[in-house]
């Protein structure tokens, strides 16, 4: 390893592995190192033994939970939107061929203490208990407006200027109740809090469109948000939600990108606990690893490798539960997401519940995994999660963790240290990939052209 590299990457989280893969494909010489003896860093999926090492050091997992190797427990639970940016990157790099995905069975939203399925088609929408009959009519005209809306075609704007009008005003225009607003903004627009209400409506309308198009895969190149949800739903016929999940857990994603890097010549070293960044005059010039050093033009990595160059911007609290049953009231789903909008729980930020099961090869036969997470607002994390935990029913085991979310102090242009931002509480990978694309731009000075292999464009 005592050589010179174009880039040294520290930590094998998803963001770092995508960067390594992209740089290796660009013919850059990459050395990728992790202090752990497993892939995935913060975004790893752990076996039962690894999970107990992390949360219950010295304790053995009970035999009733089954074999350790059957488990792949995500440390950062998220789903992929079928028409979202991560799928685009997977297709662009051909990394999809290493992975298999399953559609997520359903997306639910909490309203007045009850959970409701987010309708995935017209007949579900008609039967849904989310809204009364008259509210459904009003909501329908809102959705027709969103579906028809094309930014470039003023005719579809129907006299509304979404760049100036706030989302609150748009809701008012369609005369939608607060509960419907909660459902649209949080379960479809995937906003984490209510700040969007006072911002221009355009971004939210685009997010709802994406949701729709992910369900039915109608749209192309949608980057706007409600648009995101609809686009993901439409992507593959018969989806009950716009989300996908890989077999064997999310930890497969970083491994797949690491393999891409290795196939293009990247060098991989795990289990290097002593590795540290080497600076000269404040500029990152490589790494030290025991007696060895390696030099590089730049160093990339997750915040844990760059003490003093990052700051804490928030805390996420997550609970992991192992259960013998699906989440009650989800139609026995093997995979499900439940969004608890802030207003419904009297909080400042949304709470998210994820569930997946042995059907995804992430737990032993007849076991389910559930995750409850939110941005921390008080000093009593467990109490904060109670609204989400209450939906799970009895649990076999429960682990709770508070994680700092760090972000870099600088953009890397001066100190050649390109640092990723920690994984936020969002339920999907859109912000994750945005950070990666931004890092790629800072590192290479150019944008990653994802349009080349955009399936919608190829087929157009």
């Amino acid at each position: 390893m005592n050589e010179e590299y174009d880039a040294i990457v520290l930590g094998t989280g998803l963001k770092e592995c995508i960067i390594s893969g992209l740089l290796s494909v660009d013919k850059k010489k990459v050395l990728h190192i992790d202090r752990n003896n497993y892939y995935g860093g913060e975004s790893a999926s752990l076996s039962l033994t690894q999970l107990y090492e992390r949360f219950r050091a010295g304790q053995q997992p009970p035999a009733s939970l089954g074999a350790s190797r059957d488990y792949n427990v995500d440390m950062v639970p998220k789903f992929m939107m079928a028409n979202g940016k991560l799928v685009r990157v997977l297709l662009h790099t051909d990394v999809v061929k290493y992975l298999e995905f399953k559609a997520v069975d359903g997306s639910y939203v909490l309203q007045k203490g009850k959970i409701h399925k987010v309708p995935a088609n017209d007949s579900e929408a008609l039967r849904s208990g989310l809204m009364g009959l008259f509210e459904k009519r009003r909501a329908r005209s809102f959705f027709l407006y969103v579906q028809d809306y094309e930014e470039a075609d003023p005719k579809t704007h129907k006299g509304l200027d979404l760049r100036r009008m706030t989302m609150a005003d748009l809701y008012k225009h369609f005369d939608l109740t607060e509960d419907t607003q909660d459902f649209i903004g949080h379960a479809l627009g995937l906003h984490r809090d209510d700040a969007y209400l006072t911002q221009p409506a355009l971004a939210t309308v685009l997010k709802v469109k994406l949701y729709h198009e992910s369900l039915f895969r109608g749209g192309r190149g949608g980057v706007l948000k409600v648009k995101l949800y609809h686009e993901s739903l439409f992507r593959y016929e018969g989806l009950n939600s716009p989300y996908l999940y890989p077999r064997y857990g999310l930890g497969e994603l970083p491994q797949a990108f690491a393999r891409l890097s290795a196939v293009y010549g990247g060098t991989y070293m795990l289990n290097q606990p002593g590795v540290e960044v080497m600076y000269e005059n404040g500029v990152a010039v490589g790494i030290k690893n025991g007696a060895d050093t390696a030099r590089s033009k730049l160093v990339v990595g997750d915040p844990s490798y760059f003490a003093g160059r990052v700051r804490v911007v928030g805390k996420v609290v997550r609970a992991i539960a192992i259960m013998n049953h699906p989440i009650p009231n989800t139609d026995n789903a093997h995979s499900v997401q439940i969004i608890l909008p802030q207003k419904q729980t009297g909080r400042k930020s949304d709470m998210y519940v994820f569930c997946c099961s042995y059907a995804h090869n992430v737990a032993s036969k007849d076991k389910w995994l559930a995750f409850v997470s939110t941005t921390m607002e008080t000093s009593n994390p467990e109490a904060e999660l109670s609204a989400g935990m209450a939906l799970l029913g009895p649990v076999e085991e429960k682990f709770i963790e508070v994680r700092d979310i760090c972000e870099p102090l600088e953009d890397g242009s001066k100190d050649k240290a390109y640092i990723s931002t920690g994984y936020d509480a969002t339920t999907h990978f859109e912000t994750t990939v945005e950070d990666v694309l931004d890092m790629y731009r800072r590192i290479t000075g150019r944008d990653l052209d994802l349009t080349a292999k955009d399936p919608a464009q190829v087929e157009a």
């Binding site: 992975l99 992507r235 060098t267």
Partner: protein, 201 residues
């Protein structure tokens, strides 16, 4: 229709494991392309190579380690879902034989329990430098239920035999685990085309 044709042919993921320099890539290259180079570059540069055995109705997807084994950093994803594994050692290197045994243990612990495992003592053409006896390897293979052969990627000795015997040992498709499983989505060109067809309205 394409689905029906595919259903008859069994696609099997086959992985090679073993110490750097034991000849994994050379074995694959000899088998798939009939080539051999004295100084084979470490990386094949492809995700995997395929080879079809029409008489056995098997299509191998053969995965190379892409050099990730060099610092013992092979991703578990590599052997995930593999129907068969060839663990390769170099008959002139006792260290490579030790490493092969540790791969066997790793697969027994983490791998698919129905995986067909073969142990290949490669570089059999270098008889004068032999350091691992065939008896020792044979005994180890018998103890662990491995199919064992000595091979030479250089002379092609036993290379076809190795892969063909693995193909014969594969469980019949109806008995094997379905791939992709029920409800599975593979984001391939095919799914995209399928998805496209249903995008009308």
């Amino acid at each position: 229709m394409a689905m029906a044709e595919l259903a008859q042919q069994q696609t099997a993921k086959l992985v090679l494991l073993g110490e750097m320099g034991s000849g994994k890539s050379s074995l694959v290259l000899r088998y798939v392309k009939g080539q051999f180079f004295d100084y084979q570059a470490s990386t094949v540069g492809a995700a995997f190579l395929t080879k079809t055995l029409p008489e056995l109705n098997v299509k191998f997807e053969i995965w190379d380690t892409a050099g990730q084994e060099r610092y013992h950093s092979l991703a578990p994803m590599y052997y995930r879902g593999a129907a068969a594994a060839i663990i390769v050692y170099d008959i002139t290197s006792p260290d490579s034989f030790t490493r092969a045994k540790s791969w066997v243990r790793e697969l027994q612990r983490q791998g698919n329990p129905n995986m067909i495992m073969a142990l290949a003592g490669n570089k059999a053409d270098l008889e004068s430098q032999r350091a691992v006896t065939a008896e020792e390897a044979q005994a180890y293979a018998a103890e662990n239920g491995l199919y064992y052969l000595e091979t030479s990627a250089k002379t092609a000795a036993n290379v076809n035999e190795l892969f063909e015997e693995i193909a014969r040992k594969l469980p019949k498709p109806e008995a094997a685990a379905p791939r992709p499983p029920q409800g599975g989505i593979v984001l391939s060109e095919d799914t995209q085309r399928q998805a496209k067809r249903s995008t009308c309205c």
